[in-house]
Symmetry: C2
Subunit: 218 residues, 2 copies
Amino acid sequence: MNVEFVGRVGHDGAVSTTDNPETTARRRGRRPAGQDTRTALIEAARAVFAENGYDGATVRAIATRAGVDAAMVNHWFGSKEGLFAQAVLELPFDPMELQKALRDGPGDELGERIVRTFITRWDSAGGGQFVALIRSITGHEQAGHVLRDFFQRFFSGLISSIGSDRIPLRMNLCATQMVGLGMVRYVAKFEPLATEEVEVLVRAIAPNLQRYLTGEIG
Amino acid sequence: MNVEFVGRVGHDGAVSTTDNPETTARRRGRRPAGQDTRTALIEAARAVFAENGYDGATVRAIATRAGVDAAMVNHWFGSKEGLFAQAVLELPFDPMELQKALRDGPGDELGERIVRTFITRWDSAGGGQFVALIRSITGHEQAGHVLRDFFQRFFSGLISSIGSDRIPLRMNLCATQMVGLGMVRYVAKFEPLATEEVEVLVRAIAPNLQRYLTGEIG
DNA sequence: GTCTATACAACGATAGAC
DNA sequence: GTCTATCGTTGTATAGAC
């Protein structure tokens, strides 16, 4: 799928000046200013993704619950994945665009690119968003399922492009390293890692990630 | 809380009493049934650890808040670290005993022992305890500080025994791998890793942890 | 009477003030 | 360097539950 990332990233703009979000009557044409379709979609998406996982959740179901047309998903978030990123994971980047960028370059340096990009993006977004992500995962029972689907899609696409065996396990192992990195740097804030230079961490962690991607894992 | 009679017994057997209810002196000997010193210590420890971190919290301060003697910490929990494990981290094992066990064996197999023990212990405890641990870290602001102190003490003791440089960073890197492993196996429950055989994971992960412990990290 | 939870004193280690 | 305060821990006598 070719995805153009339209949705805003991270910040909550001054969009929501809604006075009554519980209106059930639907009109055709452009709705009055201040009716925050985008927020309604995010809330509906949180519920539907949590209930059914990524693959099980349909754009139509989300739009119906939000009380808007399904086309609004593409208008506000570019794609189903863009909505997913904004609503559930609150990622500070677009997964597809990132995956595409990571594929550019030699396969034996993929781990390096992943670690560098991961730290750079989350750093610039501020650690608070990662904390919110983890909290949503530990809080809701189904949120782990959502993250699992996402990781599977994201990492398995990367790994398959360099042709390793035991893709599912390798994807899981990569997840342990990257999630743990986020936990230590942004949630628990261990020193010196939390304030360490990016390239130092890349040199330290990338070889381990690369082993999970293409190395011998027993 | 549990002081209804305030008195002090001198060496000569004379009993001097006071009617001041705020006197800190307490009777010796076994207290009336139903006065749960152990629970009082855990509750006090939660508060003091959360306020001051591991090193900042003193056994005496905890005992004072619980209204008992500091020696009760050793009597009921073996040590300050045992109390910490029970009260804040709710670990399914005793950190000191575990650290001692991990030191037995060749240094180049330390990573293997850590991974195997980590998975075995948490598996037998059920993943729910790990979820609770993570939730307490993400929830309370100070809990990350507590975990940080604990990890530092636990891992730095292990690493220093095998003599590597850059101990603090290596400890942090080990934390990324182990915390991430716990997140993926017990919280997010990625498959196949969540139900994978222990020894398969040991072969996959131990070399990476060993590199953080004694290898070249850039 | 027996057992044990308890308080108190004291020890070695350690960190900071002077 | 010396002194002091405080830390975690240990030993021990004992009060009170059983």
